[in-house]
Subunit: 526 residues, 2 copies
């Protein structure tokens, strides 16, 4: 039997604040440090490893975290989720994004449908459509093949799919599996759509309108923007557009689209990359087999997250160490630092995933909580970040926990040896060096050149950023955020915080304003 | 006479913590809110306005901040800086980036040279070079015009120039002043350079190697990477490369370059966008006249920052309100939220500018300080952010101060009317709505739909994002960061925190490691 209790009512909550803290600089020094790094490591799917040697934990703290996992019934709650309980209580919805990539438990029947079959069927429809486009069986009116796919969507319909596309674009080019170039239109700023349209051949482009509800203001506006451009170019918009939406949305059965592919209310936007929301654009860009490999990497990681043994469950470990940093050590931010240019937008996806899921002040029953919840997430790829904001991370007055990601090999074939090492070796040497610099610091008589260390980090290491590795990374962070939400007893699957702005923006556009809102509207000339 | 004192030794430090706090939700409601927004507004250069109506200040707090400005001698310190005192004490250097765009005070003679004349002369050399490239007088060996410019640099040689290029790329296309496309190579990840080279015609490209010292590992590595590619394509690298560096660097007098343009040690990397570091790429891409317009917008803003009246000095106001939020209200982060897709990478530039400048724990004399210093900066353009991390900003357990930027008009000519409003109107309506939603919140019986408000923000509003407006924005934030550094009594112009990682990375590449560093090196297969 599952009980949903606030974090601060658990025995392990108090125990966690009382257990002796770890001095990272001290434990990471010398041979003890070497032993820690070897020991505090757990395998992930797709050959990745989650290493938390440089985190501010030790066996005692990990033992309390294991108690917490049990007391908070984390695996039981995950089981309830993938077996189809109404975990999204606010919106009274199931939470089924894991089901888009595998069957973790029982059949989930909702609205009279086996949901796994439904998701698999949509994937098949997308794969068939993509293959016809690639084969030139579906073309523009002039019979020419489509060469570009443009996703029109915002938030979860943009950030995740865009991050995944960028993560594999160069890999696909190198492996000759880039079927179509992809572009993305998201912002209601008209210059976003204009700029994308200027850079592509619209006559050879297929556009994917992505909106679960079919009512997202930005997306419908940009759809009209694109239709306008197509019409002006003498093209028939309905021959250039497909929709990814829910079956009940206004977009679902429209003759305006070449095809429509379906998701449902049980897939939240920020969790939708493995549904048709990511599936359509990635299958068109890379081919359905590559998308299937992403799903396989995610599915394998989802299975690992079932493990009741905390020490063998990387997502749960990552989650609980994060909770310890947030609620006991009092750190607000977490920086995500992938040493891979291909992951340049992955931090932006995690920013949404984490902050929109766990940036909440009430528990799942709508009662205010007395402890801090989700962290602020930001990040840029290394080594770029080293020449930017790392100064503050090393020597600032506040401590920011760090989440590194690194790969032994790069994606493309080119590399050069300069001063005895390849660029890839330099990249890897830098991430290794940074972890130790942050953890151990360095004494110096000149205080300005002194590093106090004690700045905790973890690293996920892989062989190469393949589709499987990418799927594993994606699922790892989704599951980490889910477990943290369970600990904090919040609903990680709604986002009521975005509603008020929408309501007020409509008032501004209707010129129905007073007070400060009227003045700002004037200042902005609306 | 200037005295450099720690913030907590000033009388106004204590006064600031004792003055009654402002309840933002309360004061921003009703007609009082409207009056505040009208009143708390100060003109910037280029027709921009800095509005701080929704910040947690009132006349009493502003009066103490004015005292603080006087007690900390902010304008006097600025004057000392632009008149050429050694403000960068750690490195014993002058700080002269403002001099790249105007003469604010006395002639600054250093190393026997009038520095204003030196910077202007380099600008002229760059302008002449760019005009010859545009006119086809400088071409590739086949006599073909160069069509693309590629900046090779990292940190300040990348983020600022890249942000400025993206900010004006579409504006330039619309105004037929895009002379060359620009691309950027920064990361030592070999896939960064490979991907850029795959997307351009190297035979028609000119590469700018940007490194003040001429020793930046990433940049030299990427330079070799590019030379390799040029040679493999049967091209002569020295006919395709120019350098921006200091006169004493190994790059300065090399026959490897078509030309070399100079900066000096008095321009820090993150402050170098208005030197040749930004000047070369922006003059080649947009033409020297557009770059001159950026400088003019920055120069005008620099003059405003001289104003001793806090209420007429937007950069100083922004700075001191930020100090109040950081040191009295205890907020760690600041989110930068431009409602303009063109400013998509401007937050990344500000992230470096601010965090590398003020992420320090010792004062300018190398003594530890007992108060918090620089904030963590992150941000994405709106409305995209609304569908991402705004959930936490509205309803999370921590408060994050917000810095909005908005323009009445978009850059490109296209727009569409959907549901009675243009996309640009929707964009502006959203930023107005968000400010009020964050400030005032909304009661709701359902606590999950309740917004407590009290989340402070400011907004910079402009007519359109022109070169002048962009220069003004750039200088505003540079000066804001400078004033905050003065208040915190830190050296905002060095970055010792980046050194340790470099040293350790070299050890890894030399296989000179032990302890944890040796294990991480093994794990990463170096």
């Amino acid at each position: 039997m599952i009980s949903w209790n606030n974090f601060d009512t658990l025995a392990s909550y108090r125990e966690l604040s009382e257990v002796e803290r770890v001095n990272v600089a001290e434990v990471m020094s010398g041979e003890n440090g070497a032993e820690r790094v070897k020991k505090y490591s757990v395998p992930m799917a797709s050959g990745l490893v989650f290493n938390y040697g440089a985190k501010a934990v030790d066996d005692k703290i990990l033992a309390v975290l294991a108690k917490l996992a049990e007391e908070a019934q984390l695996t039981e709650k995950y089981e309830a989720l993938y077996n189809g309980e109404v975990i999204n209580t606010g919106e009274k919805r199931l939470v089924l994004h894991q089901l888009t990539r595998g069957q973790l438990g029982n059949d989930v029947i909702a609205d009279g449908v086996n949901k796994r079959e439904f998701y698999v069927n949509e994937q098949k429809k997308i794969a068939e459509f993509a293959e016809k486009v690639h084969a030139g069986e579906i073309t523009n009116e002039a019979g020419e093949k489509f060469t570009t796919v443009v996703q029109i969507g915002i938030g979860g319909s943009d950030l995740g799919p865009r991050a995944l596309y960028l993560a594999l674009e160069n890999w696909a080019k190198t492996n000759n599996t880039l079927k179509m170039n992809a572009a993305f239109i998201s912002n209601v700023d008209p210059d976003d759509a204009s700029a994308v349209l200027k850079n592509i051949d619209v006559a050879r482009s297929v556009f994917i309108v992505v909106s679960k509800s079919g009512t997202t203001l930005e997306t419908l506006t940009n759809e009209s923007f694109v239709k306008d451009a197509l019409t002006k170019a003498g093209l028939n918009p309905s021959r250039h557009m497909i929709a990814v939406t829910s079956e009940t949305s206004p977009l679902a059965k429209s003759a305006d689209y070449l095809a429509a592919f379906f998701m449902d209310d049980y897939i939240g936007g920020r969790y939708s990359s493995t549904s048709g929301v990511g599936g359509a654009v990635l299958s068109l860009a890379f081919g359905p087999d590559v998308f299937a490999r992403i799903l396989a990497g995610a599915a394998e990681e989802d299975v690992l997250a079932k493990n009741k043994d905390l020490m063998q469950n990387p997502a749960m470990l990552d989650a609980l160490i994060g909770v310890y940093e947030r609620n006991v050590l009092g750190y607000l931010d977490t920086a995500v630092l992938p040493y891979s240019q291909a992951l340049s937008r992955f931090p932006a996806h995690l920013q949404q995933l984490d902050m929109e899921s766990n940036g909440k002040s009430v528990n799942r029953f709508g009662e205010p909580v007395d402890y801090v919840t989700g962290p602020v997430i930001f990040g840029e790829p290394g080594t770029n970040g080293q020449h930017s904001f790392y100064q503050l991370l090393h020597q600032g007055t506040d401590i920011v926990p760090l989440q590194f990601i690194g790969f032994k090999n790069n994606q493309m074939e080119n590399d050069v040896v300069i001063q005895g090492s390849t660029s890839q070796q330099k990249l890897c040497a830098n991430v290794a060096a940074q972890i130790v610099a942050f953890a151990c610091g360095k004494e110096d008589e000149n205080r300005n050149k002194r590093f106090e260390g004690g700045r905790p980090s973890s690293i996920i290491i892989g062989d190469r950023l393949t589709p499987e590795a990418l799927g594993t990374l994606l699922a790892h962070f989704e599951n980490k955020v889910m477990f943290q939400g369970f600990v904090w007893n919040i609903n990680s699957f709604d986002q009521e915080g975005v509603q008020l702005g929408k309501v007020l923006a409509k008032k501004v556009l209707a010129h129905d304003t007073d007070g400060a809102l009227a003045v700002y509207s004037d200042l902005l000339n609306i």
